[in-house]
């Protein structure tokens, strides 16, 4: 079967600009959350984009462009695509798309009337704006579209991208997820749903957890057919070994309490990788810090991995950056790939109080070396979304 490898990674997150910045700061126990929000404060559009590029792109698309530039540079694609451009796809997930643009133009409509609404409103707010912008920016002429599955979108995008390569529909894919939803309407709407943390603290799996902290950012990965990547002498960062996706078919916001759908996605990711629970060395959890998710996800991990679940580190990137919604699955996959490279389990920050039944090894507060006994370490990266969407990636370190 065609193997799919990662040859470039880029990210913009509340911990800074750059995938390695995210990983290194998280590993060191730094948090990008301030005043109950994970804002990408180090991102300054002028440092990365021209006036025209910036005004033609909502913040979520800008994040994807900057993460994309980093990923393509690492893959060695900056000057020229190594493949026929019609064989290179672009699949980017988002939860909400350009909601900042939507809200601004709604203000204009209300305050100044319909004739003042910007001609750029639609092209900026549409949820497929990021893959559209990236395909134009890098001249990618293969399949391109957005993936919309709430907080699972980034992982679904990467899984879909890998499937495109496996199916022979593409030689390579620029993929990931992006979100910039720290806007008044979206914050009020999540708060109304009682999903956000009142304390403003993201502490996944801790008994005191009280909801998620919203964050913003993006991650973009370059995926390639492994044989073709090796043929061109690319540096390989990781292998996408497997991908599982399922649906709870249960409730529009609540996860199925026993984690059945999530466990099914984990099973499927393992099966498609040709691996079993004993092969897994680390789980990057969805770990939102909501009471419901962290309990159901713990059950799902135990259900899918059996006894092995108690012996492997499980941590949540959201403890350091909050919940990046449709970007989360991609940002967390990016961080996981770098952790596998270093054979490290990054920590779940803020974890102190144990809740009965939540008895996995959550890597509290301090990073730890993975015990891999010489084999290539393998991780699962979980992402679950409102709507009951579950997506799980199985990632293996490069040789």
């Amino acid at each position: 079967m065609t193997q799919v490898v990662v040859t470039g990674i880029g990210a913009v997150t509340p911990l800074g600009v750059g995938a390695r910045t995210l990983y290194e700061r998280w590993l060191a126990g730094q948090s990008g959350i301030e005043d109950g929000e994970g804002v990408a404060t180090e991102y300054e559009p002028k440092e990365h984009l021209s006036v025209k590029e910036a005004r033609r792109a909502d913040r979520f698309t800008q994040f994807a462009m900057v993460a994309g530039d980093e990923a393509l540079a690492e893959a060695g694609w900056s000057d020229e695509l190594p493949y026929d451009s019609t064989r290179v796809a672009c699949i980017i997930g988002t939860g909400i798309g350009g909601i900042g643009t939507l809200e601004h133009n709604h203000d204009v409509l209300r305050d100044s009337g319909p004739k003042k609404v910007s001609p750029l409103a639609v092209p900026l707010m549409m949820s497929n704006a990021a893959p559209g912008a990236l395909s134009m920016r890098y001249k990618l002429r293969g399949h391109s579209y957005g993936i919309v599955s709430a907080c699972a979108a980034g992982a679904h995008a990467i899984g879909t991208a890998a499937s495109l390569i496996r199916s022979g529909a593409a030689d390579a894919v620029v993929t990931g997820g992006s979100e910039a939803a720290l806007t008044p309407l979206s914050k009020a709407a999540f708060a109304a749903l009682d999903a956000l943390s009142d304390s403003g603290i993201s502490r996944p799996f801790d008994a005191r957890r009280d909801g998620f902290v919203m964050g913003e950012g993006a991650a973009v990965l370059v995926l390639e057919d492994a044989d073709k990547a090796r043929e061109r002498g690319a540096t390989i960062l990781a292998t996408i070994k497997g991908y599982g996706a399922s649906s709870d078919a249960h409730h529009i916001t609540a996860p199925q309490a026993e984690g059945l759908g999530a466990a099914q996605a984990i099973d499927q990711a393992l099966q498609s990788a040709g691996l079993g629970p004993e092969d897994i060395d680390y789980v990057n959890a969805h770990g939102t810090s909501t009471p419901l998710n962290d309990r159901a996800e713990t059950k799902a991990i135990k259900l899918a991995l059996g006894d092995r679940a108690l012996h492997i580190p499980v941590s949540s990137t959201k403890s350091a950056i909050g919940h990046l919604l449709g970007a989360a699955g991609a940002v967390e996959a990016a961080a996981t790939i770098l952790a596998l490279r270093d054979r490290m389990a990054p920590p779940t920050l803020g974890y102190e109080e144990v809740e009965e039944g939540l008895d996995l090894d959550y890597v509290p507060n301090t990073a730890r070396a993975l015990e891999v006994n010489g084999h290539l370490p393998v991780a699962l990266s979980n992402a679950f979304g409102f709507g009951g969407h579950n997506a799980v990636l199985c990632l293996e370190a490069a040789e």
Binding site: S50, V51, K52, R55, R56, K115, K116, S118, P119, L120, P123
Partner: protein
């Protein structure tokens, strides 16, 4: 907002200021400069049309805007439409 009186000078100023927001360097925005040279596209011209209508009450139709090629063409179109 009260509409401005249309003079070639006033319209030129409006057009230059609008285009400068869209990305081109202000010193590149000369009357003879083409939109192609300035990387000004149909979406920029849609925004420009909105600004012109707002300031001068002159509606530029899609057909008109499709024909203009330079900064000077845009100024002339607005001034002639008013006349």
């Amino acid at each position: 907002m009260a509409e401005k009186t249309i003079t070639p000078e006033a319209v030129e100023t409006t057009v230059r200021e609008a285009l400068a927001q869209f990305g081109p360097e202000p010193d590149e925005i000369k009357l003879e400069a083409t939109f192609e040279e300035l990387d000004v596209d149909s979406l920029d011209l849609a925004e420009l049309s909105q600004i012109i209508e707002d300031e001068y009450g002159v509606k530029l139709k899609g057909d008109d805007v499709g024909k203009i090629k330079t900064v000077g063409d845009a100024v002339d179109l607005v001034v002639n439409r008013a006349g």
